[in-house]
Symmetry: D2
Subunit: 340 residues, 4 copies
């Protein structure tokens, strides 16, 4: 069992079964298939609103496509300094937008706060031809430190951004984990709070390769532009039915939230266990399926001796990620190993 990343985990068998069921007969290509249509209908129910979407096969693609229909190349995206879009996507947002600037902002636990956002909005004017104006606020939920923005935080920040004319993007690679942790309504955490576009990731939550860029009503008119960019970037798969099938099974009967809740519970168990180990402290609140722990060298050595790989984060702490498949005994094994 690996705690290195939720991308090293296999897929939930129900998703593979759904793909196998989809594997019969001719189907329209490029997302015009019947399963894709059903997934859209289902997401409309889940988010209690009309919406449009395209599928992709990576979170990087989803984020970059989302930003590319919100931010012209001569404008900027405000984001946290540790945001995945800024640190871990090799400039995909810059590539897809045609050279937009990402303005990195500071904030505890990888979360932006209102004061910092206000200062940034003032610092970067929007009426001066020489300066790159901000066009988008991007929030990651969960953040890169495993913390969540709750409905109130999202509303406050998105409200400030919108008041200045910015669009709001949410990187939801672990949106299910945020939602399961916050126990709130998906609509409240997104469009009702001012989010225009959601990158909804299923891959880390149990899919093989399934992500969606969801346009809420405020920006549904950009569907045409989004599809053009999806095609132009090679992300309009000929046999899209297999991505749609993954989503259908993932969303079926609340499976997506169940799997996320399980991963979160395993992370909570892990955090509690590690916090009880002498010398170990938690670097960030644990709001989802990620634990960031400061590990004394002795603990690091014990884990290494037990053959348990851990990943040191840029802040010096160690990131441990649980997933839909993590078992309580895997967690306990790690905690016991840490305890020595």
């Amino acid at each position: 069992m690996s705690f290195l990343s939720d991308t090293t985990a296999p897929a939930h068998p129900a998703l593979l079964d759904a793909m196998a069921r989809a594997n019969a007969g001719a189907e329209a290509s490029y997302g015009n298939d019947a399963i894709s249509a059903r997934v859209k209908a289902r997401l409309r129910e889940i988010f209690s609103t009309d919406l449009e979407l395209v599928f992709t096969v990576s979170g990087t693609a989803s984020n970059a496509l989302a930003l590319s229909v919100l931010c012209p190349g001569d404008s900027a995206v405000l984001c946290h300094d540790e945001a995945h879009i800024h640190r871990d996507e090799r400039g995909a947002p810059e590539f897809f937008t045609g050279g937009a600037k990402l303005i990195p902002l500071k904030g505890d636990h990888a979360r932006l706060d209102a004061e910092t956002l206000a200062a940034a909005l003032e610092e970067w004017p929007d009426d001066f031809v020489h300066t790159t104006p901000p066009a988008v606020l991007s929030l990651s939920n969960l953040t890169e430190s495993g913390t969540a923005y709750d409905v109130e935080r999202v509303s406050t920040l998105a409200g400030m951004a919108r008041a200045r004319g910015l669009a709001v993007h949410m990187d939801g690679a672990r949106f299910a984990n945020a939602l399961a942790g916050l126990k709130c309504d998906p609509a409240d955490l997104t469009w009702r709070a001012g989010v225009d576009v959601l990158s909804l990731g299923a891959t880390k939550g149990g899919a093989l390769a399934a992500e969606a860029v969801i346009l809420f009503p405020s920006v549904m008119d950009r569907l045409g532009a989004l599809k053009v960019r999806q095609k132009r970037a090679g992300h309009m798969l000929p046999k899209m039915r297999y991505v749609a099938a993954q989503f259908e099974a993932w969303l079926e009967n609340g499976r997506w939230l169940e799997l996320a809740a399980h991963a979160n519970a395993m992370a909570a168990r892990l955090a509690k266990g590690l916090a009880g180990v002498e010398g170990v402290t938690l670097a960030h609140p644990v709001d989802g399926n990620e634990v960031f722990a400061n590990l004394p060298q002795t603990v690091q050595d014990r884990l290494e001796a037990a053959g348990i790989g851990v990943y040191q984060w840029t802040d010096g702490s160690f990131r441990l990620v649980t997933n839909w498949q993590t078992r309580a005994e895997d967690v306990d094994h790690l905690v016991n190993a840490a305890r020595g």
Copy 2:
């Protein structure tokens, strides 16, 4: 049974089975998994050479990534006027290269000939700062008209291009069909003939979504650049093992060529049948799994009455595509319907 495109077909069950087998335990992400390594080893055997590769999930992505490591944005790609990269990828090559120019050239049956290439090479100089110089020759095999370039044709054209310092790309979305039709050695049709990079497509040949950009030894040093671009374009999938698994099953025991040979045989049967229908003529030689037939209105009406969809090509003929799953009775059903 649809003859509209080989992208409307389902995947071969063996590939889904392979994905299911791959769905166990933790695996390294982003292409560093064991299955990816095995596929590379297998392709080295098949092509009788060292090589490097990355996987993608669409032919558009493969072509655009391939061109992006061969052609700077200030240079040009010579290709046939009907090439997929020019006509059907919404400017993906231009996007990935940063604005390279595609120079469309004429040629019968969507094939370039030596005379036209020679004229183009002369027309676009490479030592003049004001003019966009050609940096790449791109050949599609099968072409967009379903014809094949044989080893000699590839050698001639690639040799001319290389003599002028151009790199040579082959769009092999239907490479298996070309190979099965020509009954030649994969090495002879590619790197031994002067091809630097091959976009090898499995999707149309029976995969769900599996393509590869193969760098032959002459350009293997561009692997680093290719991976950067793959990541930057959102095509470095976290759980790449599932794409690799498709390739492994597709290449296993010559399955890829068997499936292609079957599709080709069905196309030959279809061509022969249609050619016997009064008023029907073939627009292009049938070298693979595509038939382009000129259909009198009466025949079009009969097919429509039988509920058989056909796709009119830009040259006025109708394109009929077979695939790994097409049955002889499907073909005969269509021919009978056409005959009235």
Copy 3:
């Protein structure tokens, strides 16, 4: 005296005088100076309409900026195969637009005709996500062969383009020569005929470095976008007053048309003279200040012996360009040398 290009000529002294007069006191930067405002007012009179504009210092910059506010990167520009934007600007349009495609069309004497345009408009659909749709028709007036589009030709082609939703750009690097030759109203040859944006060049007509991108009322709302791109491309000069001063003096009392008419008269004299030389034929009609002549080897040798450089064009003929400074005796000297 050189006939190689009108870019090798010096500037008209009146323009340098105007720059010297402008060289006093503090002036607002970046185009917000008083002279720029006066030039805009003067151009409104000349074109009998409201308009907006920005200055640049090269025709390549003007064309690329103009196209960049008319053509998104996922769309295409229809132009003649010999257009300067396609052949002589090292992909500047592709660079400024973010990867738009230039679709080269054939036509006698570097002029497009209605039949070819109609076929191209049909060939490249605008409602299909896979295909790059045309967004702009670009006409060069004078063309690269020195021919002019008269008002009727422009109206016909622009009308067809607009009916399909395309914008119309005119590359007017030698617009003054076209206008002086056609003896028509500048408004009739541009916005009244359906031209949305004019690249108006003064450099070849007697300036040091002065070009303008003129937005006619149909696209005046793109001024903001144009200024952003002008800045972003490094073409918003700090001390713009000196470019404006050139334009002011060039347009003063009809000087621009006088200088063009003189250059045209010299070209006519040259064409007449050369046509009388045995073995010499004209390759294209002479509508402005360029003569394209087919020269037998003997004539080429005579010119070379006389130390007169000539420039062989891609069609095999030789291009001879006159300018505001060309004297009748220079022309006669060349003709006499050709005659031997």
Copy 4:
């Protein structure tokens, strides 16, 4: 007399005279003229080294072109958070590089220090496909706060950058002012200290529109690429002789340093005068021709009453810029007005 910016000043008459002298006869286009060659020879003497260069007409163009031959689109530029390339060029570096990332770093008085640079170099690794690696360090000299990097500072920072494989760019829009203030050898402040490319600006120092991108021997092999980008960006002027003529007159007999020294002296006089006004403090050291002063409201009111415009900087202080034409009585007039 305006203290708003050195871009509002006119040009030195000697430069206009030189342009007038250049205005005779035919000259090779696009930078192949005799004056350009002479300027290159002169700069080789001044910098005591072989070098290559291209001219441009704006500092934004020079910086963006320089960066574009040093930094691939998938890489990053380290610069100060207040750098002109980051704050005042509307994303030109991102545009010209094809989407490179600018990583803004903090530092007093708009100067980077070694500690901050070391941290940034560690924070952004160069061997990880997911992360954008730094490829260039860009230093502004003078900085945006009017301070200078002396030889030792440049050497230290450039040495650190080069040790990590980065190239070093210097934005020298006010390089003459830095040099005149530091009284050091141009070679010592640039290539001997590790600078690869210098954007040398003459416009703020007395030219109409004249800037140069200078490639020192370490990167002279990029001249071809630089020219291609210069052309592609519309910055290869047809009649380049007039830009070259400005440079020739500017560099003649040390005029560039004399004019800079004069502007610096005026700034020193201004700083001393203002510092004597009650309530006024200087925000930054005055190393060149810019004074940043914290002005109490009463002083602001007095200046406004006297009709003297001042420009509030982002740090709250007011920027006052002198130029080659500023007179001692202009300075004294302002100081007296401030004193009330």
